[in-house]
């Protein structure tokens, strides 16, 4: 019986040496260790032996069985690994084939520009407020200290619905609306649509967008305006841009100024974007005129404020290099998709 065990072990060794596949290993296992396998037969035959012999033979048989199982295990895992590796090899793909397409849409460049501008001001603690596109003459002109005979009030410049109602020509009426609606201090930006009676061409659109800003509190100064706009310009156009305030005139601010930033394309050396000057005009601004504060129900002796307003299309055109304002309202999908 012992020799029989040795023979089985030898046979197992020999057969397993050539067993390369999981199937071959399995076949050997069944033949030797299965219900009708050679080793199982031997174990079954041990019933006839004396307890003494049973013990020694049992040990011998179990050790042979364990050895065969170990061998099988080793062979099986090698075969599995080989099979896996063959399978993976067969599954090789061409990774240079195109990926599956997931089409995302794009936000309109005007939306993107408004978001960018307002995000900068949000980070500086400004709230976003909005106002109606259809306005009264009082909010659009009178309350903003616009002279009664100012040409901007003409029907050649402003769209009217009646003597009293019009399409707002700027976002500034929201300044007065905010002063009337809100407690001090005020620190807001106002994005929105504006309308002027301009025939569309490459640089004019009868509808355009502005972002207005207004700060009102005790002790607000021109220096605060300068510092605020300088911070804005650096966050919006890059930390190395320089800013410059130039005297200007608006009925609703005094002193008034225009803000130039050093050209973010050429860095101030002069190029086609800045028309060789090295500077780009970005916005109009100034200290809120006392008459405007008064129209907003604010004591102009105690409080002061500053305001600024910029054209979104202009900023977008400069930033993205769009050469014709009409492209924004044609809504050609190819144009919008450029802003993905």
């Amino acid at each position: 019986m012992r020799t029989e065990l040795q023979r089985i072990l030898a046979e197992a060794r020999e057969q397993l040496a050539n067993a390369d596949t999981v199937e071959a290993c399995e076949e050997i296992r069944i033949r030797l260790l299965g219900k009708k396998g050679a080793l199982t037969e031997i174990l079954r035959g041990m019933g006839k032996l004396s307890p003494e012999e049973k013990k020694t033979m049992g040990q011998a048989a179990n050790s042979v069985k364990a050895e065969i199982e170990a061998l099988l295990e080793e062979k099986l895992s090698a075969a599995k690994a080989a099979m896996q590796s063959a399978k993976l090899k067969a599954e090789k793909i061409d990774v240079t084939e195109p990926g599956k397409k997931f089409e995302l849409g794009a936000k309109h460049p005007i939306t993107l520009t408004i978001q960018e501008i307002t995000n900068v001001f949000k980070a500086m603690g400004y709230s976003i407020v909005e106002g109606p596109e259809v306005e009264t003459v009082w909010f659009n002109f009178d309350a903003l200290n616009s002279p009664k005979n100012h040409p901007s009030r003409d029907m050649t410049d402003t769209f009217y619905f009646s003597q009293d109602k019009l399409l707002r020509t700027h976002t500034s009426p929201v300044e007065v609306r905010t002063m009337l609606a809100q407690d001090l201090p005020i620190k807001v930006v106002v994005p929105g649509r504006c309308f002027r009676s301009d025939t569309p061409d490459a640089t004019h659109s009868p509808m355009f967008h502005q972002v207005e800003g207004l700060v009102v509190d005790e002790g607000i100064t021109m220096a605060d305006l300068k510092g605020t706009l300088d911070t804005f310009a650096k966050l919006m156009f890059g930390s190395d841009v320089k800013t410059k305030l130039r005297p200007s005139h608006f009925p609703f601010t005094e002193p008034s100024a225009e803000l130039d930033v050093s050209c973010f394309k050429c860095g101030g050396k002069g190029c086609n974007v800045c028309k060789g000057s090295g500077w780009i005009e970005i916005l109009g601004c100034g200290l809120t005129h006392p008459h405007v504060l008064q129209a907003g129900g604010i004591d102009s002796e105690k409080y002061s404020g500053f305001a600024f307003g910029m054209g979104v299309e202009r900023v977008a055109m400069l930033k993205y290099g769009v050469e014709d304002i009409r492209l924004f309202y044609e809504n050609d999908m190819r144009f919008i998709e450029e802003f993905k």
Partner: protein, 832 residues
């Protein structure tokens, strides 16, 4: 405003180049737009004197000139110009010379045009005579005598002299942008005063002394005539009667012995550089003084003033008048007019009349230097659509105090160039003198507003540099300031904050930030719009932005009934055109227009959305502002797009915004849509009542056709205000289920017209609380399904959150569902 640097240097001695000068003026508040240079790209161009003009032997329209160019024998030049004459001094381009161009009938060449000697119709031409345009001047400033021809130089320059040197042409003009609050800056003198203040240099004011030599004889005195002649006075020429208070001042002077001729070059040159055409000495002086002082001048031929009377009065209804441009114009009633004893002779402040203009034969003129109400001139000029240099200036406002000085300056120049003799005295009707607005200005307030800290002395220095008078008030903090009356803009203390800031220099103001502490907030509306844009772009849609105003026809094109609310437009009184004449009530038409435009550009797929305001007149009160409500449109066409892709986007958008319980109901009556492929979208409000959220569907083929979309297209319009109201964007946690779910699939055979929505509703209601999810996963028609029927396969997921469901539990509910389906819509269970 074109400002010749040369002209400013007549008053203030500055040595900056044009760019530096322009930058300095920019920081003073007069923004430099561009710098234009003259005398560039000009080589071998000399002064020539035409000695002889002969006909060209072979060309009727050409002549052959012998021209003295200072170099021995005259040269021969062939030209086609017809304004030349023997003895004329003209610019000559010598062989190989260069002019800036453009050459007559050609485009401007980069770097100028080179002229070569050659034959013209067989005759040698050694160079070219040229006109002002060829030397780089704008057509509209070419001297009248040289218009469309050769430039007839106004003086006898030495032949052969380099033209640029002779005419001192190497000069520059700065184009400065004058803000509307500073009409005084529309004059060289005011710019010079600003230059003086900016550079801290003295100013030399124009000479206005007048010798008044009318009546004195020219030539050898004739003792008899001289003795008989009394000294002339103004009353011999004109009397002035102001009958309308809108004329605030009228100064008249008279000049005799007028000799109309070309002005000297220095005068012509300044006009040309400043953008005006030299005409003759009298007109040129009037324009020169207007440019110098900002005071428009008008000259009448004294012989045309009937009754020697000038009456300023309003026109009567129906009056007509022929202006000196030869046009007869209807006068709006009440137009301020200048009349003589019989008739109108000028429209005040706008344009003189053809009947009294200065002619070559004019001997005596009456000069008007007047002031008219700004609004009056602005409105008249607008109403008549007649804008002139004079009306532009009057419209913006002129200080009446300069009338007399400007008139005297005119007379001085007349004497200086020998154009006539000035009658002694002036008529000056000035009912109410313009007074400066004296203002108390607090030093502390100016410093506080500007965020600077400068002394009173420094402020006084700045104000005095601007010709303002500063007096003490006894309070060291308060300055009493009197501005010159030309400064119509200086009205109150705040105006001085700007004057002092710009004199101090905006560059010198420090950079600080407001000290307040604020939290940034955004409105819910803003927040939801931002979210919706993010969701829509993730769903592959591009955002569009279209005009708030549209054509009323765009709604007609939707094929709606005539009386629908979509046609209740808010209409503009003065639109640019019909296309943009009403405020949009819905976004759909513009979405379709955009889709049509993209289709026409061969873009094979569109998936787009817009969120924007729609407008409806206020229903409550016409005086109220209209209602502005946000709406949202979605539009698609192209491969992969159909009703259900649109519906899927709508469902996903609303689901992401936390809006649940959507009900889609078939709609066949809305004209814009395919009657069988349109759904109204409803959602229960917080009280459970169904609210209309929007409409969607396949665009009716006729409507699509009208918008130029030749494929199936899909649009949707959603009430975005309602979305904002209903959106639930708070995130909430509910524990994950502890007990397993049970899934049952059923296939139901139903009549074709039974809607999936109704089956789902039946399943949900019969299944009660145990239903976790019902999902349609297959629709089958064809083999094994009889005609007129369809097979719908649903997957139903049951779950009890409190226990594991047994087969019996499920079977009870499931059986109930099947029974309900059978009884309500005759749905038969089919084997899958």
């Amino acid at each position: 405003m074109l400002v010749p640097v040369k002209w400013i240097k007549d008053y203030v001695d500055i040595d900056a180049n044009a760019e530096e000068y322009g930058d300095t003026m920019t920081m003073a508040g007069i923004t430099l737009e561009t710098v234009r240079y003259f005398g560039k790209e000009t080589e071998k161009v000399v002064v020539g004197k035409i000695e002889k003009i002969e006909k060209h032997p072979d060309a009727d329209k050409l002549v052959v000139c012998k021209v003295d160019v200072g170099a021995g024998a005259p040269i021969q030049i062939v030209t086609g110009a017809d304004n030349i004459f023997e003895g004329a001094y003209v610019p000559v381009v010598l062989d190989g010379g260069r002019v800036p161009g453009p050459l007559h009938g050609h485009e401007k060449e980069e770097g100028g045009s080179v002229i070569k000697a050659g034959k013209l119709r067989g005759v040698e031409s050694d160079g070219m005579l040229c006109g002002p345009q060829e030397l780089g001047w704008d057509d509209k400033v070419a001297p009248y005598i040289s218009k469309d021809g050769i430039w007839i130089l106004p003086e006898a320059f030495t032949p052969g002299t380099d033209l640029v040197t002779a005419l001192e042409l190497d000069t520059a003009v700065v184009d400065l942008d004058v803000t509307p609050n500073r009409p005084d800056w529309l004059s060289m003198l005011a710019i010079a005063k600003e230059t003086k203040a900016a550079y801290g240099k003295p100013i030399e004011l124009p000479d206005t002394r007048v010798q008044e030599k009318a009546g004195s004889a020219g030539g050898p005195p004739n003792s008899i005539r001289f003795a008989q002649q009394k000294k002339p006075s103004m009353s011999d020429y004109v009397t002035i009667d102001i009958r309308d208070t809108r004329c605030r001042r009228y100064v008249a002077r008279a000049i005799t012995d007028i000799k109309i001729e070309q002005s000297p070059w220095w005068l012509q040159e300044r006009l040309m550089l400043a953008g005006m055409r030299p005409i003759n000495n009298i007109v040129d002086i009037a324009n020169f003084v207007m440019l110098e002082y900002g005071q428009p001048m008008h000259t009448f031929d004294a012989e045309d003033i009937a009754g020697k009377k000038i009456i300023v009065d309003a026109s009567k209804p129906g009056d007509k008048f022929t202006t000196l441009d030869g046009k007869e114009r209807e006068l709006p009633a009440g137009t301020l007019m200048i009349n003589d004893g019989e008739k109108a002779v000028g429209i005040a402040g706008i344009m003189g009349g053809l009947n009294s203009e200065v002619k070559d034969t004019t001997k005596t003129i009456v000069l008007e230097s007047a002031n008219f109400d700004a609004d009056t001139i602005r409105l008249s000029s607008k109403e008549m659509t007649l804008r002139t240099e004079a009306s532009n200036r009057y419209s913006r406002g002129i200080d009446p105090n300069i009338c007399l000085e400007a008139a005297n300056r005119f007379c001085h120049l007349v004497e200086q160039i020998g154009a006539g003799k000035v009658v002694p005295g002036a008529i000056d009707i000035y009912p109410e003198e313009a007074k400066p607005i004296v203002c108390d200005v607090r030093v502390s307030r100016i410093n506080k507003l500007n965020g600077i800290n400068i002394s009173r002395e420094e402020m006084v220095k700045y104000l005095e540099a601007l010709d303002m008078k500063v007096e003490d008030t006894g309070d060291p903090d308060v300055m009493r300031v009197t501005p010159p009356t030309v400064r119509l803009d200086m009205k109150e203390e705040i105006d001085y904050a700007e004057e002092i800031a710009r004199m101090y220099g905006y560059d010198n103001i420090p950079l600080t930030l407001p000290k307040m502490n604020t939290q940034s907030t955004v409105s819910r509306s803003w927040q939801i719009r931002e979210l919706a844009r993010g969701i829509m772009t993730s769903l592959g849609a591009n955002e569009i932005q279209t005009y708030s105003f549209v054509s009323p026809r765009s709604v007609d094109m939707l094929g709606l009934d005539d009386d629908t609310w979509e046609k209740n437009f808010l209409t503009l009184l003065n639109p640019l055109g019909e296309e943009t004449s009403v405020m949009r009530t819905v976004l759909m038409p513009e979405m379709l227009e955009v889709m049509g435009r993209n289709y026409s550009r061969n873009i094979d797929k569109v998936c787009a959305f817009e969120i924007g305001n729609t407008f409806l007149p206020s229903l409550i009160d016409e005086n109220e502002l209209p209602s502005e409500e946000l709406s949202m449109s979605i539009g698609t066409y192209g491969a992969g797009e159909d009703f259900f892709s649109m519906k899927g986007r709508v469902q996903t958008l609303l689901e992401m915004l936390g809006i649940t319980g959507l009900v889609f109901t078939a709609e066949s009556e809305y004209g814009a849509f395919h009657p069988g492929r349109c759904a109204r979208i409803q959602v229960p409000d917080r009280g459970g009542e169904m609210m209309e959220l929007g409409i969607m569907g396949e665009v009716h083929p006729e409507v699509a056709e009208r918008f130029g979309i030749q494929t199936r297209a899909y649009v949707c319009e959603l009430n975005f205000e309602y979305i904002i109201a209903r959106a639930d964007i708070e995130k909430a946690y509910s524990p994950l289920p502890k007990f397993p779910s049970v899934e049952r699939d059923i296939a139901l055979l139903v009549d074709e017209d039974v809607e999936v929505g109704s089956l789902e509703a039946i399943i949900k209601s019969a299944g009660d609380a145990l239903i976790e999810k019902v999902e349609l996963f297959d629709v089958y028609r064809g083999k094994q399904v009889e005609e007129g029927k369809k097979s719908l396969a649903f997957s139903i997921v049951y779950r009890d959150r409190n226990k594991t469901l047994t087969d019996d539990d499920v079977q009870k509910v499931h059986g109930n569902i099947l029974a309900e389906l059978k009884s309500k819509v005759n749905a038969v269970l089919r084997e899958i």
